[in-house]
């Protein structure tokens, strides 16, 4: 219990790092897939080794939708209740382009700084 404090600090930083890129990654997945439903998004992220809990995903998607960056439509499913399939709006596309360039800049910068 006494070494917890050290753990906490690094976990904190790590999760902050993740949080920074999360939106961007999700939007990427949606853009690439065209129309994706949340379960798929979570799976893709897992495959890419960037784990995200579905419970985190849903509020995020809802916020993005409320900000009019995403839109969805219901698709009936044989194996259960209907699903929401998300796709980027026009605004979302523009937003994504901005993030993409931001990311590129940042990635280069970090690469430079951390290169030995």
């Amino acid at each position: 219990m006494y070494c917890k404090n050290q753990n906490m600090d690094i976990q904190n930083t790590q999760s902050q790092m993740r949080k920074g890129v999360l939106e961007f990654c999700i939007l990427s997945v949606i853009k690439q897939g065209g129309e994706v439903y949340p379960g798929d998004i979570a799976t893709k992220m897992k495959e890419a080794n960037l784990h995200i809990l579905e419970g985190t995903l849903y509020p995020l998607l809802t916020r993005l939708k409320n900000a009019q960056l995403l839109t969805y439509r219901w698709v009936e499913s044989v194996s259960g209740p209907p699903r929401k399939y998300f796709s980027l709006t026009e605004e979302g596309q523009l937003f994504y382009k901005e993030l993409e360039s931001t990311w590129k800049e940042m990635a280069d910068a970090v690469q430079l700084l951390t290169a030995q």
């Binding site: 219990m1 006494y2 917890k4 753990n7 906490m8 976990q11 904190n12 999760s15 993740r18 949080k19 920074g20 999360l22 939106e23 949340p38 379960g39 995200i52 809990l53 579905e54 419970g55 985190t56 849903y58 509020p59 995020l60 998607l61 809802t62 916020r63 409320n66 900000a67 960056l69 499913s77 194996s79 259960g80 209740p81 699903r83 929401k84 937003f95 901005e98």
Partner: protein
């Protein structure tokens, strides 16, 4: 065998075990609470639940007959628990589109930090919380939970608990039931917290808050608090003031008051909406208690069985080793011996490994010894504080008991104000302050702000001032004293050899043998009360006759008032044959107040004659109710040969009063000669020889404030 129910989950029928359903429900509620402030909350929760039902459908399709606990837990793990969510309002306040959304809530930072590793969620009124530790428990997790809260080693806590097990047993059970286990916190199900419900308050919301917590009707709780006071009204065995009943008994009204006051101070009031939600949470009902306790007991049983198996396993190993060693010892030295020996070593190794495996994982090393000292320190501190508290408490209660009588002592106006001020500020403030300080010390809560401390100390100083003010006021009222001139009662003593002293036949009103509080109240509810402040002295007569003299005495704020009060005392004597009826008490009323009124009776017995005081007289050698020393005057009323017993025949001899039987034994002749005898016996002799007779009836204890006199002197000097 588990009960299975069907639920309609997002439009699909799902068969699910009842226990699994409860887990699901808790999860659902935790989600609801987590997203309580979130915009689009309903949508989010809907999405999540839809996803869950989808996963359930898949499970069922794969061949399961129903959803089990494991299924639910697996789904919850994959969805994530609320406190693990990376939902961060801060991130959005930084991104660009937040500028478009002006109504987005920006949560303060501490509200949204990932709380993976803390046990506390942020609330407006939180500190460190007390939980029962599900993961490190032996029986109910009480010891480890409490130990974690105070940052001591759970093992030490358990040892202490076992040593004091007889005392600890009941609190243990109470904590087991009342304190929630850490499992509920992990899932995030609504805990119930005790708040004062200020929305529904009558005085301070204490009763309403308690009612919410236990899920009972508010009126019921209020009645419970009022019950002791009701018992006064109906005179049903209310606490009489001289015994000290069990604190929680229903006839002990100060307990109800004090509990209320303490709860008022300690229990926080609901400030925010989330507080209100927490207050109303899930009720602590019998079912949940039953389940909790049952579960814990079952786990304990399993653990105990496992431990039993370990013990028997170890015992077997040991016996095997012992027998092996014995075999070795007896076997001859040959190769087979070496073989046996090596195989024994193998056995030993196996056995050792198993031993190691059986050792439970070491608990974290804490410093054991300083912790023990800390615990001891607390115990000693408690032992010191408890008597102080109890004595202050006792004084406070005592004052409460005497309350009705104060009307006879204190003039209205300043005096009563000061007396109430003294009562509350001087006595109760330190009690409450000490209790609170002690609690804070135990809980390690540094919340005691200097403002509160200053307030308490300030109030207490005010109390001291009230106390001194009261003293000087009352002292002034008693500053002077006066006697009336002695009056003689004509006792006809023809042919009287033995005077019999009796009291007047009693009427129902005169008795102040208060048996209980209701009599006490009734008695002091009247306009005037009788007090038995009568002293009877038997002295030697200077001539051949019996004489009866009496004088009254009183205090007052001036000589005139004292004289007036003294002469107001009414009493009478009577005689029938040889019996002298004496007054055993007299009236004082509310207007004249109690000012140490006394009645002195002196009976002069000639040498050779006898006297007997009957037991019904019940008056004493010395004054019972006394404030301050016996007046400023040296007088011969307080002296005199004092000691005599009831129902004993005494004969007056030249040397003084003697018991008849003693006298006969001594063989002293009863002489009729008039011996010169100074009736002014020494003050010192008398004062040291005075015996305080214990009274038959209960009376107010001797309030001889010796420095009281000083206060009276002071007030005289300042001519109040």
């Amino acid at each position: 065998m588990k009960k299975v129910i069907n639920i309609n989950f997002q439009g699909t029928i799902i068969p699910i075990e009842e226990t699994a359903y409860e887990i699901l429900q808790k999860y659902s509620e935790s989600l609801r609470r987590h997203f309580a402030k979130e915009e689009g909350r309903d949508e989010i929760i809907n999405d999540i639940e839809t996803r869950i039902s989808e996963l359930f459908s898949e499970t069922l399709k794969k061949g399961a007959t129903c959803i089990t606990d494991d299924n639910v837990n697996a789904v919850i793990n994959s969805m994530g628990r609320p406190e693990d969510f990376d939902t961060d309002g801060d991130a959005y306040s930084d991104t660009s589109f937040a500028q478009q959304k002006t109504t987005e809530n920006t949560y303060p930072a501490n509200n949204t930090q990932p709380n993976n590793y803390n046990n506390t969620q942020s609330h407006t009124t939180s500190g460190k919380r007390l939980f029962r530790d599900e993961n490190h428990k032996i029986l109910g997790g009480v010891c480890s939970g409490v130990a974690n809260y105070f940052n001591i080693d759970p093992v030490i806590m358990r040892i202490v608990a076992l040593v004091f097990s007889s005392v600890v047993l009941i609190p243990y059970i109470v904590i087991w039931i009342v304190v929630p286990s850490s499992a509920t916190q992990a899932i995030g199900s609504p805990r119930k917290r005790l708040f004062r419900d200020t929305d529904n308050k009558k005085i301070a919301g204490v009763c309403a808050g308690l009612a919410q917590y236990f899920g009972v009707n508010t009126r019921l709780v209020r009645i419970l608090f009022l019950l002791p006071f009701i018992s006064i009204v109906f005179r049903m065995n209310h606490w009489s003031g001289w015994g000290f009943p069990h604190f929680l008994s229903l006839s002990f009204s100060p307990a109800a008051t004090i509990s209320y006051l303490i709860l008022w101070i300690l229990v926080p009031e609901t400030k925010t909406t989330s507080d209100k939600l927490e207050m109303k949470g899930k009720p602590v009902d019998l079912n949940s208690i039953k389940n909790t306790v049952q579960n814990d007991l079952n786990e304990f049983k399993d653990k105990a069985q496992k431990w039993g198996k370990d013990v028997s396993g170890t015992a077997k190993k040991w016996s095997k080793e012992v027998s092996n060693a014995a075999q070795n010892f007896t076997k001859k030295n040959d190769d087979s011996n070496m073989e046996n020996y090596s195989s024994n070593i193998e056995n030993d190794n196996n056995y050792n490994q198993q031993q190691l495996a059986n050792i439970p994982p070491k608990t974290e090393k804490r410093n054991g010894i300083p912790i023990i000292l800390k615990v001891l320190g607390y115990i000693i501190l408690g032992l010191i504080i408890a008597p102080i508290l109890l004595s202050l408490f006792g004084v406070g209660i005592g004052f409460m008991a005497v309350l009705p009588a104060t009307d006879f002592l204190l003039k209205s106006g300043w005096e009563t104000v000061l007396s109430w001020g003294t009562f509350f500020l001087f006595i109760w403030v330190p009690i409450i302050g000490i209790i609170l300080w002690f609690f804070r010390l135990i809980t390690g809560n540094r919340g005691g702000s200097s403002a509160i401390r200053a307030t308490f100390i300030g109030l207490w100083i005010l109390g001291w001032m009230c106390f001194f003010g009261l003293f000087s006021f009352v002292g002034h009222d008693f500053s002077h004293s006066a006697y009336t001139a002695p009056t003689t009662f004509d006792y006809k003593d023809n042919n009287v050899k033995t005077m019999v002293v009796r009291a007047f036949p009693k009427d129902e009103y005169s008795d102040w043998d208060n048996q209980d509080f209701s009599d006490f109240l009734r008695y002091f509810g009247n306009d005037s009360v009788k007090i038995p402040n009568v002293a009877l002295k038997i002295e030697q007569s200077k001539d051949d006759h019996f004489h009866v003299e009496s004088a009254a005495y009183a205090n007052g704020k001036s000589k005139e008032e004292a004289t007036e009060l003294a002469s107001k005392i009414e009493y009478k004597f009577d005689q029938k044959d040889s019996t002298l009826f004496v007054p055993a008490d007299f009236f004082i009323n509310r207007i004249d107040k109690f000012r140490n009124q006394r009645l002195y009776i002196k009976i002069f017995v000639p040498i050779g004659k006898q006297i007997i005081v009957k037991g019904d007289v019940k008056i004493h050698h010395n004054i019972d109710i006394n404030i301050g020393p016996a007046g400023m005057h040296k007088n011969n009323w307080d002296n005199g040969d004092n000691y005599w017993d009831y129902d004993i025949v005494y004969v007056m001899t030249a040397e003084g009063l003697k018991r008849l039987d003693e006298d006969k034994k001594d063989g002293t002749e009863k002489s009729n000669t008039d011996k010169e005898k100074s009736s002014n016996t020494n003050d010192d002799e008398n004062n040291s020889g005075d015996k305080k007779e214990t009274s038959n009836s209960k009376t107010v204890s001797n309030k001889t404030f010796t420095f009281y006199n000083m206060a009276a002197l002071l007030s005289n000097k300042f001519s109040l």
